[in-house]
Symmetry: C2
Subunit: 152 residues, 2 copies
C-alpha cells in the first residue's frame, strides 16, 4: 500500500477549514461544483466532475468515515476510478498561531501507478484551491480547475 | 522506503524540458535562482535557497547520476536536509503529440514524515514553475517561489 501526502498552511481558523472538508457545500467550493450529500458521520457524498463544456468526466462517492470537529476528516471511497476503490482521503488539522496546518493523505493505493502520480499533482492544485476558498471566499473547483496534464 | 510521485504535461518539445532539468541554468529558472555546477554525468550541482530578504534558508548538493538525453534525469542527493540524504529525484520524459509528459519522483525517503508531506506539496508547485518556465520563458524559482506553509 502506498500513500500520497501533502502539507499546506491556511491563514484561517480551524473551523473554517473543517467546514470546507466536512460539508457538501464546502467541498463544492474547492474540489468540484457538483458535490451533494450528507455531512454527517457515516453519510455518503457524491462528487461529479465535468469538463469546461459540461461533459461528465468522472464520478465518485465516499463515506464520511471519520469526523472529529476541527481535528480530522476521513473520506472512504466506495465508488469511482477502479484505483480509488477502498482508498481513504484523510485531513488532519492543527493550529499554529493564526494558521491552520493541514496534513492531507490519499492512502492505501495498491500500486504507485502513473495515475497516482497524476492524482498527487492534481490534489496539490486542489489544496491550493481549498486555501484560496478559505482565505478569499473563492476557490477553483472543477470545471474551473487547473489542468495539469492530458488526463485532466 | 517511500516515494513522492507527480505527473505533469508541458506543451513544449522534450529537448526544452530536458535542458531545464539537466543544466544549472535550467534549474535556476524554476527551482532556485542560486544553482551552480556541471550538467554532465557524474557532475555535482549545488542549489541554495534564500528567503525574500536574502537570508539563506537551505542548501543542497546532488550528483547527476543519470542523464539520458530527452528521456531521463536522476539527481542523487549527497548533502542537504538530513531526510534527503541518499534520496533520488527522478524525471522521466515522454512525448504525446505536442506535449511532453513528465513523471517526477522523489524516491527512497526512509519514513513518510511531515516534512515529506511538505516537500510533496512544494515539489508540485515547483513543477508548475517548471511548466511556466518552459512554456512562457519565466518560472517562479526561489526566492520568488510560492509559499505553501509555515516551513516555506
Amino acid at each position: 500500500m502506498v500513500d500520497i501526502i501533502h502539507r499546506i498552511g491556511i491563514k484561517a481558523p480551524l473551523s473554517k477549514v473543517y467546514a470546507a472538508l466536512a460539508t457538501a457545500e464546502g467541498v463544492a467550493g474547492w474540489w468540484t461544483e457538483d458535490a451533494t450529500g450528507e455531512g454527517t458521520l457515516g453519510g455518503t457524498m457524491q462528487v461529479t466532475f465535468h469538463d469546461p463544456h459540461g461533459k461528465e468526466i468522472g464520478k465518485m462517492a465516499f463515506v464520511l468515515s471519520e469526523l472529529r470537529q476541527n481535528e480530522a476528516v476521513r473520506w472512504h471511497f466506495e465508488s469511482g476510478p477502479e484505483e480509488w476503490l477502498g482508498t481513504d482521503v484523510t485531513f488532519e488539522l492543527k493550529q499554529e498561531g493564526a494558521t491552520t496546518l493541514l496534513i492531507f493523505g490519499h492512502r492505501n493505493w495498491r500500486e504507485p501507478v502513473e495515475f497516482m502520480a497524476h492524482c498527487s499533482m492534481k490534489w496539490a492544485t486542489f489544496l491550493l484551491s481549498l486555501r484560496q476558498l478559505v482565505e478569499t471566499g473563492k476557490g477553483r473547483p472543477a470545471p474551473d480547475d487547473l489542468k495539469i496534464d492530458n488526463w485532466n
